[in-house]
Subunit: 469 residues, 2 copies
Amino acid sequence: MEENEKLETMDYEAIHEKRTDELTELLNKRDMKQLKQRMEELNEFDVAEFLAEIDDNQMPMVFRLLSKETAAEVFANFDTPEQEKIINSITDSELSGIIEELYVDDAVDMMEELPANVVKRVMRAARPETRNLINQYLRYPDNSAGSIMTSEFVDLKKYMNVKEAFARIRRIGEDKETIYICFVTSADRKLEGIVTVKDLLLADDDTVLEELMDRNVIFASTTEDQESVSEKFSDYDLMALPVVDGEGRLVGIVTVDDIIDVMEQETTEDFEKMAGILPSDKPYSRTSTVEMWKNRIPWLLFLMLSATFTSMILTSFEDMLAVQAGLVAFIPMLMGTGGNSGAQASTAVIRSLSLGDTEPRDALRVMWKEWRVSILCGLTLAVVNFFKMLLLDGLILRNDSVTVAVAATVSLSVLFIVMFAKVVGSALPILAEKLGVDPAVMANPLISTVTDAVSLLIYIYVAKIILHI
Amino acid sequence: MEENEKLETMDYEAIHEKRTDELTELLNKRDMKQLKQRMEELNEFDVAEFLAEIDDNQMPMVFRLLSKETAAEVFANFDTPEQEKIINSITDSELSGIIEELYVDDAVDMMEELPANVVKRVMRAARPETRNLINQYLRYPDNSAGSIMTSEFVDLKKYMNVKEAFARIRRIGEDKETIYICFVTSADRKLEGIVTVKDLLLADDDTVLEELMDRNVIFASTTEDQESVSEKFSDYDLMALPVVDGEGRLVGIVTVDDIIDVMEQETTEDFEKMAGILPSDKPYSRTSTVEMWKNRIPWLLFLMLSATFTSMILTSFEDMLAVQAGLVAFIPMLMGTGGNSGAQASTAVIRSLSLGDTEPRDALRVMWKEWRVSILCGLTLAVVNFFKMLLLDGLILRNDSVTVAVAATVSLSVLFIVMFAKVVGSALPILAEKLGVDPAVMANPLISTVTDAVSLLIYIYVAKIILHI
C-alpha cells in the first residue's frame, strides 16, 4: 500500500504528511492496536515528531504502546522537554529498560541537558555497569571527541579469519551503532587496524584479518576538539572514527551522524560569535528571555562603551564641524560603508580559515588581495557617490552645503575608508587565529567599532585638506 | 612498523606529518619504488595533499606512479587546479582510465569547475556510456539532489533471497559508493524498498528480501534542493538517500560524505549572504580580485545609496543639531548599538529558521520574546550609559555639553532604539521566509541600514521632547 502511495505521488513530503495525519486519525479513533503497528513501521524520528505534537496528557500513554527497542529509539530522537515528560510518567523499570537500550552517546547527551533531579532518577534506574560507563563519558571535556563518542562498536582480533569475523558480527552486531567498520584490537585493547564489512564480503572465508586489515588508521584522541574530529570526517570521507586514550587503547567510536550534529552546532556557534552573542548550547526556541539577555548584553555593553572613542573624536572636532555643518549628514553613510566593507572581508576570511582554505601563513597574500579588492570597491563607490551627491543631494534635494569640494571630500573619504576597512577586516581574523583566539570573534561588531572611529578620523583629515578648515 | 609508531606517539597529527616527511624524503632520494608503495598504502586524501604541495614539474610524474584505482581516488580528492595540471600532462588513454574509474558525482563536480576546453578533452576521452551519463547529470539544476547524486549503487530484486543478494553484492559491489544500503527495485526500475547489509547479515540465507526490506523509504526527488536533502540526512541519521525521478524510478543515490560537503557549502553561502556578499562556489583562495569585487560591490553600492535617507534626516534637522552640537557626538554610538542589537536578533532568528527550530508561524512568539529581551538589554544599556556619560564624558573628560538632560536623552534613545532594532531584526527574517526569500539576506547590513535611519529619528524626537528644542 505504501508502495502505491509512492508511485502515485512521488513526493516524500506529501507521503510524510499523509502518514502523520493517519496516526492522528487512529489516535482520535482510539484504535490503539493499529496506531501501535503504524508507529512501529515508521522511522523513529517521525514517531518522535508525532508524539511531540500530541496532547501532553496522551503523549506518555501513546509512547508506552511502543516496543522496548522502538521506545528507546524514539526516546533518543526526542528533545529534552519530551524526554523529561516521559521520564516523569513511566515506572523505574520501564525507565531502566530504555536506558539500557540507548547508545551511550545518546544517554550522555541526555544527561548533559536534563535537570539534576531527573538525572539522579535516571542514574538510579540504570544498571551499575551502564551507570559507570555514563559517568566515565560525562567526565570528558565538553566538545571533545570523548564527549561525543559511543561505546557500541564491533571489535575483532587480527588472528580471526573472515568466517569467524562474520560470526562475531552476527553475534554482537545487533545493538552496535555501526557494524560496517570493525576495529581490530590487541589483547590489551590497543587499536591495531580497521576492517570494513565490504573488505570481508569481498574476501575468501579463510583469509585472516591480519592480511586484510588497514593499518593506516585515522583516529582521534579522547581530548581532541570536536571541530578537529569533524574535519577528519570531511577530509577523509569517513563513516566512523575510532577514539583512543593516551595509551592507544580503543575506548569508543564517533559515527558520521553525530558529526552532522556537531557541524550544525559549530556553525551555530560561529554565527553567534560573529553577531556578538555568547554561544549557548540551547536552541533559540528553548532559550529563556533572561538567558538571551545574559548572552547578548556583554558584547552590547562593550561595544557601546567602545563607541566613547568615536564620541570623543566628534567632540574634539565640534568647532570644525560647526563651520561645515553639512559634513555631519554623511557621517552615518561613511561609517556604514566602512562597517559593511570590513564585515565582508572579515566574514570571507573567517570562513576561509575555518574551512582550512586559508592558513595564518597566508596573511600577507590575503591582505594584498583585499587591498586590491578594496581599491576596486572603493573607487566604484567613490565615483558613484560623487555623482550621486552632486545630482541627488545637490540638484534634486537642493542641499546647499553640497558643493563639488564637499562631494570630493566625502568620495575620497569613502575610498580611504573602504581600503582601511577591508585590510583591517581581513587582518584581524588571521591575527586572532595566530594568537589562538577564535577568529569568529573578530567579526562584524568588533570590526565596525574599530572602523567607525578610524572612518571618522579619515573623514575629518580629508576635509581639513580639501576644504581648508 | 606503522603500528609501533601509533602505540608510541598516539598523536594522529604527528604520525601524519611524519608520513608526509617520509614521502618527501623518498622523492628527494628518487626512490620511486618505495615512494609508489608508500603512496598506495596511504589514504588518498593524504596522497592528494602531498602531490599538491610538490613541485609542478614533478607532480604529474609522481602521480603516474599510482595504480589505476588509486590514481582515480587521488584525482577525485584534488582541487580543480591540480586536476587541470594532471589532465594536461597525461595521455588520452590514461585520462580515459581515470574518468571510467571516477564515481559519476565526482566526475560531474569536476566538469562543473573545469574550463570549457579541458571539459571537451575529458568528454572525448570518456566512453560513450559514461559521456551520456555525465551529460545527463550535468543537466540537473545546480544545487539539486540530481546534481549531487551518483549512479554507483547496489540494486536488488524483492524475489531474491539473502544468499542471492550477497552473491550480487559481491559481484557488483567492488566499485559502488556504498554497498551497505541496497535498493530494491521493480522490473521498471521503480524504488520498492531498502535493505541494509546489517539486515542481510542478521537474517537466514533463504529469507526473501520482500520479507526483509523496509518499504518505508525516505527518498528525495531529482529536483529537490540540496539543503532539503541535507535536512533529511540530519533528521533521519541516514548514510545514503535514494533519489527518484518524476515517475518514481530510482536514478541515483546521495551518500553522507557528499552531504558533509553540501553542509559546508550551504553554511558558507549563509555567511556570505549575511555579510552582504553574493555567494560564489569558489573558495576564497581561488577567487580572483575582480570576482571578489563583483560579489561585493552590489550590496556595498545599494547600502551606500540607502544611507541617503540618514543623510536627509540629518540635513533636515541641521538647525536643531546646531543648537545642541553636543548631541552629534553620540550619533555613532546610538547607530552602532542599534545595528548590533538588530544583528544579534536577526542572526539568532535566521539560524533558528535554518535549523528548523523556528517556523514562520512562530513569528508572534519570537517577536514577543525579542521584545522582552530588548527591554532587558535596553534598560541595562540605558542605565550604564546614563552614569557613564555623567561620570566619564561629563566629569572626567569635561565635555560641557553633557548635562543630566542630555544624558537622559541619549539613554532613553538607547532603550527605544534597542527595542526597535531587536523586534525588527527578528521580524524581517521571518517575513523573508514567508515571502520565500532566503532569510539570510535580511541580516546585518540590511538591518543596520534600516535601524540607522530609525535610530536617528528616535534620537531627534526624544531630544525634542526632553530638551525642548
